[in-house]
Symmetry: C2
Subunit: 499 residues, 2 copies
């Protein structure tokens, strides 16, 4: 770790056929890490804010580029860019607040068994991180998205693998990010950008890479996960892979507001041509309610669909829908499976809980696109049994009336999902302290989140200092607490006033 | 998850050849989980304290049994039992304190981009956990050890795979733990005990098991790690596998107190026949200091060695030592490689940093037993270069004088270890809030700790509730905070007075 050659702060090359762009970026990231791991909170906050400012300054250019490559439209893309810069600034705030470090001080206690020395624990940056851009969020889950923001906030250099769905935007964003970091005084090599499938594979296996952030398909994610954990020195792979995001609507809710629920669902599953990992893919409703037809009607009133992000996504969507629609007991309620899929037009399918019970895995495979499967149930227990077979999901939603006892429903939803909604629809993921974006396999691969302030925990590891002189300690672990951050002292959590 | 059969709270069978004891314990654990995940902090604290009380009540019987099977002696074993019961009680305290839940409340904020609903996040029990007992800590890292205590504290049922080095102690401890839990009102199936290698393999692969805690060898741990991450639904494998725990002594420290350092090292690496994962296995000292000979002299004054824990450990120790001693540039300073290894007698080897640089991996393989390798260095940079090649370790220690600048040394030690010591020796792991027992691969497999209060984080996953009515929320997430735990409210960490 002492003999690495320096390399440009950003390396940008197609395909990585020789592996050298990855090697260069990784070596540069390792060199940078010696500085970033020792950087102050104030420095890291300034870096994050500089990136946010630079992206805002290039807003018109970036949104236009993103629209050309993604067809997501300027309204959505402007919102997504704002979300991205807000996210960078929120991580800057969190770094300054300091509680994410879990600073903990235990003074000497000779009476403990075994006797306790002076112990002080803090979370420390893990090392260079590889981040895989997502196709469906060209800003918020891509070059300067949540994985990058949280890794930089932690003090980890980042190498982004750009997505082939928006190559020009990716390269231009990387250029702006690298420039902003350099201008803000961040060390050379703190940010790199590579492209191509081979480069991605090489990154996950590279000895200098200490963790991976990934948002994408179950198939591709599993391949990279297996590479990460199969290394001679396994590294954490933080993947967000797949979710069908089940919804259950009670009879009382349906009686009270069927049309409102139908139009809410229609708006949610068709948003962005359905290309959200939180898309509500399966909706349980009381049998005989005609809810699927109401949704079909509501979809008809929605604006025209936008083209899908890539030909590959359109083709996978069409294939998945065709498989699903061809199954016994599944009926097509709205849209056309064979022709409309490629254009991203909405599709509503219907079935019943008994059909689901016969082959839950096949019926609950994620169809990434604007479709939803309405499942009619005879009683709530039957629906909950089917939901418990869905597998892990990012979200689960219950629509009930305020006076209903939903304890049993909530227990099942909490078992399978990382976010449980009691109103609204799962698309739209707020960036905040309390957000959780991650749930049981296959929705994510670990017990952490990829959205919200606690996402930073993924790129940190604990270090304890035993009997250290004050001058050898990080400022955050000193008794005089010069930065005024929350500390746990001899077991008691202390938040300085004014912190 | 709704159709599981019930089974006895404890299943105890040899080998698990048919797999049925594992199936029965897993099914019982899954049934129990429905109750434990919804249990209150007060209930879990009572369970943990009941287990501690029951173990204390059986102290004489358990220590006698442990001594028969482990030869570790009543002084050490009484201390280890106290450490184990203290650990259970500390987790009870931590559960009541409540900050481990990371309770976080974000109220509605329509001005955020995207708009923020009411979001409330908490950590929730993961599910049934498999715990592998260790050979070298029959109490503290076995049936009722740290993994079990932290998993129960989290609200996870536990199935322990007993260790073949202390089968009778394992079975008897399991009986006491299960009895205490039942008497305290814990649900049937919260605790199970199985034995045999096949049962261990079946546990790691069992669909109902959601996480694994393991302390043991790199070889065995890697096999189980690969099984855990190779499942159709990978689960976290928290393994503590191997460490050589490097030490560096500066010239100034050696000039000031060579004999004190030599006797301190001798006491540490021979403690418990060297069978600690924190054993200082490689010690860097200035060339020409004759330190290895001083250590040899100090070892001669130590009490007679105790037998090693198992024939397998003795044989692996003898083999590892023989390989090491046969290498060019390595000399035997004290002890006998061929004969004394099986009895656990101390061995001191010597070499120099140039020899280390030629093949660091071979020289730094963990020899689990009472040996240490003294490496002479010409200058500190040479030593640090070698230490950075050691790989991840649980601990790293620097012995310097108070006025020395150790910043460069500390930077390297912090890079490779989870606990950095500035005085004393790494054996002895205090159980406290600030403890960290875990470091880069291969010392542990994840970014978490297996000792100390934060070990509980391993068995929890986050769940966020969106727009939930108060009656559907866990008490810890309510605005009125009835349990008085620390909460983060709209970004501000609030510790109730008197908490």
């Amino acid at each position: 770790m002492t003999d690495l050659t320096t390399a440009p702060a950003t390396s940008d090359a197609e395909t990585g056929a020789t592996g050298s762009p990855v090697d260069a970026a990784a070596a540069a990231a390792r060199t940078a890490f010696a500085a970033t791991v020792a950087s102050t909170a104030a420095e890291r906050a300034a870096w994050l804010r500089a990136v946010a400012d630079a992206l805002e300054a290039a807003r018109d250019e970036l949104v236009a580029l993103a629209d050309e490559e993604s067809h997501l439209g300027p309204v959505r893309l402007n919102g997504e860019l704002s979300r991205t810069t807000n996210q960078l600034r929120l991580f800057a705030d969190a770094v300054l607040e300091g509680s994410y470090l879990e600073a903990t001080i235990d003074h000497v206690d000779p009476s403990a068994i075994p006797p306790r020395p002076d112990l002080r624990r803090i979370l420390r940056a893990l090392g260079p991180v590889a981040v895989f851009s997502a196709s469906n969020f060209p800003f918020a889950f891509s070059v300067a998205g949540g994985d990058t923001a949280s890794a930089l906030a932690a003090g980890c250099p980042v190498i982004v693998k750009g997505h082939s769905a928006h190559p020009r935007l990716s390269a231009r964003t990387a250029e702006i990010v690298a420039g902003a970091l350099a201008a803000a005084g961040a060390p050379d090599g703190i940010f790199g950008h590579v492209t191509g499938r081979e480069a991605g594979v090489a990154l996950v296996q590279h000895p200098e890479i200490r963790a991976v952030g990934f948002t994408g398909s179950l198939h591709g994610g599993r391949i990279l996960f297996d590479l990460a954990v199969g290394r001679p020195d396994p590294i954490p792979f933080y993947g967000e892979l797949s979710a069908v995001n089940p919804v259950i609507i009670t009879q009382a809710a349906l009686d009270a507001r069927a049309d409102e629920l139908a139009s809410g669902l229609a708006g949610s599953f068709t948003l962005g041509a359905g290309q959200f990992c939180t898309n509500p893919g399966v909706v349980f409703v009381p049998a005989g309610s005609g809810f699927a037809e109401r949704v079909a009607t509501a979809v008809g009133a929605e604006p025209a669909a936008v083209p899908m992000l890539t030909d590959g996504i359109a083709s996978a969507f069409a294939g998945g829908l065709a498989d699903l629609a061809a199954r016994d007991g599944v009926r097509l309620v709205a849209g056309s499976v064979s022709q409309q899929a490629a254009t991203g037009s909405a599709v509503v399918l219907g079935t019943d809980a008994a059909t689901v019970a016969a082959d839950p895995q096949a019926l609950f495979a994620e169809c990434f696109g604007p479709s939803t499967l309405v499942v009619e149930y005879d009683d709530v227990d039957q629906a909950l049994d089917a939901i418990s077979r869905v597998g892990g999901s990012l979200t689960a939603t219950v629509h009930a009336e305020p006076d209903e006892d939903v304890a049993e429903i909530v227990a099942v939803l909490t078992e399978i999902a990382g976010r449980v909604l009691f109103a609204g629809w799962p698309t739209g993921v707020a960036v905040s302290w309390a957000q959780q974006h991650g749930g049981p396999w296959p929705s994510t691969t670990t017990i952490h989140t990829s959205v919200g302030m606690t996402a930073i925990r993924r790129f940190l590891r604990p270090v304890a200092y035993q009997d250290a002189p004050a001058h050898a300690l990080p400022a955050e672990l000193r008794d005089d607490n010069p930065l005024g951050i929350p500390q746990r002292v001899d077991g008691v959590l202390v938040v300085p006033s004014g912190a």
